[in-house]
Every structure is written in C-alpha cells, then in structure tokens.
C-alpha cells in the first residue's frame, strides 16, 4: 500500500500557472518568503483606526464622573463568582511574498496570506473549547495603480476556486491599506483588513448566546470601517495609541493631560472613567490589570477597553465597573515567556491565537506547495 499525501494547496496551482504564462515572474527565494509583522502592529492599527480621537474632551459614563477623580476601584471578579466573559475572538495572519510580476512596463508584488479567526468559548468550569474557526488563503494582487491587466484579472477571477481561497485586489481602498504607500506594505495591510473582517464575521456565531451575563471579548478595536454593532461585546486592546490628549472638565478650566500621565496614576485593579469617542458611539476606558511594581514601565499592564454604544448612550458606571472587575480577574494565567505583552494578555485570547496559528499551513508545507512553473528568462529591455 502506498500512502500518498496530496498537495493541500493544489487549487492555487492553476492561478500561478496562468500568472506565469501571461506575465513574467521573478519568484521569491524558495518560492515564498514570509513577511515579518511589525512588532507593534496592534498599536499602529489603533493609531490609524482611532486617528480622530486624539483629543478626548468628554465622558461616556453615567453618572457623569468627577474630572478630578477619574479612577475607580475595580477589584477582581473571578469566574467562579460571576462568569461574565464566555466568548473570545481573535484573528491571526501570516503573509508571504511570492514574487514580483512584470506585465509590460508595470511591475508589482504578488503576495499570499493565510488568515484565520477563531471564537473560543469558556465553559463555567474554566475549560476552553473552539466554538468556531475559519481559515482562508488569499492571493493578493494589485488591479489598480500599475497592477495587472484587466484581462488577466478576469482570467484568474474566473478560475474555479474553493471557498477558502480568495483573490483580493490590494489596491482597493480601506482604512488600513490607505495608510501604506509601498505595494508590499499595502498587500500586508489588506491582508490584515481581511483578517479583521473575518473576525467580525465570526462574532455572529455567538449572537444567539450573548446576553447581559454572557459577554464576548474581541481582541483589538471595535471599529473597522464601520462600528461593530453587536451588543454584549467589548474590544480589548493590549497595545494602543499613546497620542490622545485629555481635556476634561469645564472647557475653560480644563487641564490638558496626556495619556501617559493618566495611566501612570492609574492604580492596580482600577479603571479610568469611560471616555467618549466618535461622538459617543464608543465608550472607552483603561484598566490596570497588574501592579506597577511587577512591571518595567508604568504603561505596562494596562488594557484599553472599547464598548460600542450604537445609541450613543453613556455606559453606566456599574456596568463599566463590572466589565473592568471581570477583566482584572482575567490577568491569570498569563502567557509569560510566550508573548512579550504577557502583562496585559488575556489568556483565552492567546489560546485563540494559538488555535489559529496551529491550524495554519507550516512554512515548509507552504513552500512545498507554492511552486512557480519553470522560471522564464526575463528579457530586460531597455
């Protein structure tokens, strides 16, 4: 008996064949090279997505907080006392540079990305299980701006593809892609955008289960192009923009405070009051999960919490306290030694990320599967 292992990415081969037939390809070394992620990608995204909230002037909490006392004690509320967060959503991505395509006088990168998202459910006994999971492969090509020809785009769009394979035009504008100039960076940003879309898509799997006692935590911001409207959901960002300036109190007497001074004064197991963003459509606040003495830097151990408020109603202090207390309890266990942001990681989110990454095709498999047809000689015409 002969045991055969089939090529799991064979559906890409016809597309690569057409591309190499129609245009000249300068393949990347070994067929594909992994694009390294920026270490603070999440922070960069927070800066991009929330670029309009550099100035914070109002609260989004009721009763209206005292501007001179913006910290509230939120002692840990463990799962055994009240199990509030039951669902955790995260996404992950790996992008690969496959080569450079040359069509006529235009040259452009050809990129491939594995994107995945998972929803983890935590049972009342603390055990985790995967509620749902999606994994997609996207081939990123430019259609506009010196990209591939309309005819070739038409050809490759018409090739029969499985559901998990998608061809995406990385020149299509979106909030993340627009900030990039370099085509390879644009492709990477587009892949991240697609990943966030997948995360949002998966949130709907929890719609039937979420209520005031069963909340979901999304890793990152609650706004992409539009606000996420789903109730009983918060976004928790481990890294966030450090640019906001806070002008609180009566306008005339309002003192400016930057985020560093706001967070440096935030005691352990406390939260800041909720601030308003996007004209009240999002309430956000910061929670300190860990004591500063345990950490190297005052801003470590703090997470940013975003709560969508579609009706622009301020969040009640009671709810923000409950959410924050439950979050403080999430600090343990921590992926210390596995994630450099261990001090503000939420373990179920880390597990969601591991679920996704462990289901990605390995670099070896991908390199083995992505085979450009025999290299063509490129005629460098002057």
């Amino acid at each position: 008996m002969v045991i055969k292992m089939s090529n799991p990415l064979s559906s890409i081969t016809p597309i690569l064949n057409i591309l190499s037939k129609e245009i000249k390809i300068l393949p990347a070394t070994g067929g594909a090279v992994e694009e390294l992620q920026h270490p603070d990608q999440e922070e960069i995204e927070d800066v991009i997505i929330n670029k309009n909230i550099d100035i914070v002037t109002s609260f989004a909490e009721t009763p209206e907080p005292d501007p001179h006392n913006i910290y509230r004690h939120t002692p840990p509320l463990s799962r055994t006392e009240q199990h509030l967060f039951k669902f955790f959503v995260d996404g992950s991505i790996r992008t690969y540079f496959l080569g450079t395509g040359i069509e006529g006088t235009r040259s452009f990168p050809i990129e491939l990305a594995q994107i995945g998202s998972a929803v983890i459910k935590r049972e009342d006994d603390g055990q985790l299980r995967v509620l749902t999971y999606k994994h997609r492969i996207i081939l990123l090509l430019p259609k506009q701006n010196q990209g591939i020809s309309d005819t070739l785009w038409h050809y490759i769009q018409n090739i029969e593809k499985p559901d998990w394979l998608e061809i995406v035009d990385f020149t299509m504008p979106d909030i993340l892609t627009d900030t990039k100039k370099d085509p390879r960076d644009k492709a990477g940003a587009k892949a991240r955008y697609e990943m966030h879309k997948l995360e949002i898509e998966l949130i709907s799997f929890t719609d039937a289960f979420r209520d005031k006692n069963n909340w979901l935590i999304l890793d990152g911001a609650v706004k992409l192009t539009d606000f996420i409207q789903a109730p009983y959901l918060i976004g928790v960002a481990k890294s966030f923009s450090k640019t906001p300036q806070f002008y609180l109190g009566k306008r005339r007497g309002a003192k400016s405070k930057d985020i560093t001074s706001v967070l440096a004064g935030l005691p352990h197991a406390h939260r800041t009051v909720a601030f308003s963003a996007y004209d009240g459509q999002v309430a956000f606040w910061y929670v300190r999960l860990r004591e500063q003495r345990e950490l190297d830097y005052p801003l470590m151990g703090v997470v940013k919490v975003e709560l969508p408020c579609p009706d622009k109603k301020p969040v009640s202090s009671e709810l923000a306290d409950l959410i924050s207390s439950a979050l403080v309890a999430e600090r343990n266990v921590t992926p210390y030694g596995l994630d450099r942001r261990w001090h503000c990681s939420l373990y179920p989110i880390y597990i969601a990320e591991q679920v996704i990454k462990n289901r990605f095709f390995s670099k070896e498999v991908l390199m083995g599967c992505i085979r450009w047809p025999k290299p063509q000689e490129v005629n460098y015409e002057r």
Partner: protein, 553 residues
C-alpha cells in the same frame, strides 16, 4: 471476561518534529478525565497491505505538559506567587503517554501515524500484544493476571517450552517486594505449571523445593486457615487454576537432623524424613562445604580434591577413612598429636583444612553431620535416586548454617545432574523427564564475582545446560545484581518485584527500559514485573494468595 469487552478510546497518537513516533515507540495524548497508568496495554490502528492492522503498545510513562515555557511563568500566573490565586482560565495542558511497541497483529512495524485514536486493548488484544495467541494452548502456563486501569483483566500466559525447555528455561525472581512475595510467587508458578500441563505429562515432572525461611514451605499440603476472599477466588478462577494445597500423598518433607537426633526445623510436618551427612555420603561434594572459604593460592582446593579422590577411590592412605572423626584425627592427616604433610601438600595447608573442617562438622555444625547415620537418617543423594514424577520434595534448610545450606543445595544439584547425565541402571524409578528446583537466596550459592566456587560452578552448569537435561531452576533473591550474571542471563523468564533505584541501575537490569526501571521502584506489594522470552516488553502482573497454609508471624 470475554463477554465484558471493555474497549474505550483514551486519546490520539501524537508525533512531533522533536518527538517522533518510531517502530519501537509512540506517544499519545489523553482525552480529559481518562485514566491511564504505566503498564496498561493500548492498541492503535495501523496500515496493512489490504485493510488495517493493529499495533499494540505498553504504556511506560505519563507526563503532564502545559503551554507554560518556564516555572517562572507559572509563578507569575499565580499573581507572583500568591498561593490563594485562582486562575480565571486554567492553563492549557495535556497528559502525554509514552508507549513501547509490543507487536502488530499483522507484523507491520511501520511507525504509528499521528492523530490515530488509541484504545485500551481488550483481553484478546492483550494476548495478541504479548504473543500469547501464537502459543499452543497446551503450552500456556498462567503466570499472573494483567489488570489494566479500565478494569480489563487478561491472563499473562508464559510458554512452557520457554520455562521447562527445550527452547529456553529457568525462572528468576528478584526484588524486595515484601515478606514471602517471591516465595509465594514461585510456589504459585509451580502450582500453575503442575495444574496446567496435560495429564499425560504430569507424571514426568518432579519438583524439589528448598525451604530457606521459617516453616514457610513445610505445610504446603495443608489448607490455609483463613478462607480466601472473593476477590482472591476470582483471581484463581480467572487464571483457570484451582486454589488447593499440594496433594499430601505426593509431598515429601525432608528435615535436617538436629544435634539431638530430632529434626532441626521451625515447624515439623506430620509426615517427614530426616536427612543427615556422614563422611561417605558427603565426600563427593566435600568441596561445596568450602564455598565461602578464601583460597587465593588454590592450595586448599587441590588438597580437598586429593582427599575426595582418595576416599572415593578407596586407595592409598585414605582407603580406610569412613568418618569425620577418622578424617580429622587419624592418619594420614593427623598423627601423634600433629598435623601431617599429605602427599605434596604442605603441612600448613593440611592444618588449615583440618581446622576448617573440624569447625564445620564438629564444633559449629547444626547437627547435620554424623559419623554414622541412624537407619531413619537419610542421605538426600540416595533419596533423589528414587525421585518420582508428579511428586514434590521439600527440603528444609532454614535452620542450617550457611555452609551447610551450600552443601545441601550443591548435593541436590550435583546428584540430580549426575542422574540426568548418567542414569544409574539399578534405579527402581525412572528419573522424571523434568525436575524443577526452587531455591531462594540464590546469591548465597552463585554470587557475583570473579572467583567461581565449586557450588557456583554447579549452579552455572545447571543454568547453562539444565535446559537440555530437563533440570529447571526457579530461583529467587533480593538483588539480581548479587547473583552471577551467567545464571540470571540464562533465565528466560524474569520476575521483578519492587526494587530500589540503586539496584535497578545495575547492569543486570539492562534489559529494562529506563522508564520501566523507574516503575519498578514503585511496584506495590503483590505486583510483579514479568519479563518472558516470548514477550517484547515486560508486563505488570498480580497473582492470588496461596491456597495452602502459611506460617503467621
């Protein structure tokens, strides 16, 4: 047991870059709440040319792993060492079992693939795993019960051809497992052999048991006083054996003569014989008495050899020597109050011989040595000439001095060996085809070391050639490392009870994997590790309490 097949999925095989599955080993993770223990036997689906096959394996170790890269991470996850901290989400962890491959039912020894469901083997599976299915039913000897974590039980049969010959032979039992465990197991095994062999062969096997401690084996034909528990009875039943004492009409007890002429034993059976040693009955094994005597130059050994030859041949100055007294205090060794030079042996050597022998047979002895035997004081060598198949001979040596024990054991081995090699023509009974010897404290008779005494040589002879002659040794000792490696090396079946970690690290235990060695240190009382020539890996067995009367302490 066959009707209650208790098969349960327990986990899935797992091969990684650093920890691959091989032809010899594989690993599997356990599903939550599944309990698996070392020595459980599991099965997993394997490829075959047509259809599927099954690979069986023995669980050797289990380990729990988490995603924590360091202990520091766990400390931090407990809020920097707060003992009362309860994690909101328990850390992800798995229990991983490491398995040694036992066999494949279709002889496929490809490594087991990853992600295959692993199950507890059922009774039939366990027997296939161990190669018992290939044993002819008439050759199966129950050697204990394998009891797995899920309650599945299977009989561990050993192959008669590898216990009694001709393929291989001998059994060695080692360990500090507890009072009378080794002896109880040896007697259980002897009972099992006698009960499981076909009727037509029962009269072809005789058993010689040496009782070395208290009165342990001097009432093996008596029913035990305390009835066996239901569980014990079920074990006997599961093994297919009858819990009964040895038949009184086939037991012969031989007790050593004491100083007053009465038996020198802790316990006197109803019917017994007394044995003693006069010079004529001892002379051909005189060298066994000097087993522990230091003789670096070999002078003493040479003198003993000449004395033995002289007396046996009835030639020269020793022809009229018939008693210990004559030998010690008469010419040619002693004359006119002085030790004499004998042949080319120095006076000093003769003097040493006399001093030692006088101490052994005159001043220090337990009463076993006599100048002239009474009619009822038997010579064991003569008794063995009438050994009958189907009978059990218990020789009590418990109260004897160590050198006396060595003489008795050497006498028995040498006599039986001689009878097997050159059967005497005038014997009333035909020598049984197989003679099983059971002796405890084997290290006294065949100790490890470069010096090989006459007794050790005799034991080695039996260990190495006994298989072809039908002389089978079932031996026991606390430390296998204290026994001559050529003896234990020739035992095709080894039984190991709980042993210390220093002991199992000795080279004698090389046949055990490191993981299994660790488990040996944790065996409980009554649990034994059975390594048999037919099995690819040793298995853990339990055995029922004896059905005969045991001395209470």
């Amino acid at each position: 047991m066959n009707d209650e097949r208790n098969i349960k999925d327990v986990g899935k095989t797992s091969a990684t870059d650093r920890d691959p599955n091989t032809s010899e080993k594989f690993s599997f993770w356990l599903a939550p709440e599944v309990i698996v223990n070392p020595f459980d036997i599991v099965e997993v689906e394997q490829v075959y040319h047509e259809g599927k096959s099954k690979t069986f394996g023995l669980v050797t170790t289990l380990e729990h792993r988490t995603d924590s890269p360091t202990h520091l991470a766990n400390f931090i996850s407990s809020n920097f060492g707060e003992l009362t901290e309860e994690p909101n989400t328990p850390r992800q962890g798995i229990t991983l079992a490491h398995v040694n491959v036992l066999s494949n039912d279709k002889d496929i020894y490809m490594p087991v693939s990853s992600e295959k469901v692993v199950r507890f083997a059922d009774e039939e599976g366990i027997q296939i795993a161990l190669g018992i299915d290939a044993m002819e039913p008439q050759n199966r000897i129950p050697a204990g019960l394998i009891r797995m974590s899920n309650g599945t039980c299977a009989v561990a049969y050993i192959d008669r051809r590898y216990v009694l010959g001709p393929e291989s032979a001998h059994v060695n039992i080692t360990g500090i497992s507890g009072l009378a465990t080794k002896t109880s197991y040896a007697i259980f095994l002897i009972q099992s052999i006698l009960q499981s062999i076909p009727d037509e062969e029962k009269n072809k096997i005789a058993v010689i048991i040496l009782n070395v401690k208290h009165g342990d084996l001097l009432q093996i034909d008596k029913k035990r006083e305390k009835a066996l528990t239901t569980e014990e009875m079920e074990m006997w039943e599961a093994l297919g054996l009858t819990p009964k004492p040895f038949p009184s009409d086939k037991i012969h007890y031989y007790l050593p003569r004491g100083k007053d002429g009465n038996p020198n034993s802790c316990l006197i059976p109803d019917v017994y014989h007394i044995y003693a040693y006069d010079l004529d009955g001892t002379i051909d094994k005189l060298d066994f008495l000097f087993t522990d005597v230091s003789d670096t130059s070999g002078a003493l050994e040479a003198l003993i050899g000449d004395i033995m030859n002289g007396i046996i041949a009835r030639e020269g100055p020793l022809r009229d020597i018939h008693s210990w007294e004559n030998l010690l205090n008469s010419p040619p060794l002693f004359k006119d109050g002085n030790t004499q030079k004998f042949g080319d042996h120095y006076k000093a050597t003769v003097g040493k011989f006399r001093r030692l022998l006088r101490r052994m047979v005159k001043t220090m002895h337990s009463g076993i040595f006599v100048d002239n035997r009474r009619t009822n004081e038997k010579l064991l060598s003569e008794e063995l000439e009438n050994i009958k198949g189907g009978h059990i001979y218990v020789i009590d040596i418990a109260q004897l001095k160590e050198y006396e024990q060595q003489l008795v054991f050497g006498d028995l081995l040498k006599t039986m060996y001689s009878l097997k090699i050159e059967p005497k023509e005038n014997l009333s009974e035909e020598i049984p085809e197989k003679v099983i010897f059971f002796v405890d404290e084997l290290n006294k008779y065949a100790p490890v070391g470069t010096r090989v005494s006459a007794l050790t040589e005799q034991v080695l002879e039996i260990a190495e050639r006994g298989r072809s002659l039908g002389v089978i040794l079932i031996s026991a000792q606390q430390f296998m490392s204290a026994v001559h490696p050529r003896v234990t090396g020739n035992c095709a079946t080894k039984i190991i009870g709980r042993s210390g970690s220093a002991e199992v690290l000795q080279p004698d235990y090389r046949f055990l994997d490191k993981e299994i060695k660790n488990n040996v240190t944790r065996l409980s009382k009554g649990e034994l590790l059975l390594s048999h020539a037919v099995y690819r890996q040793p298995v853990k067995v339990i055995f029922p309490k004896p059905a005969f009367k045991q001395q209470e302490f």
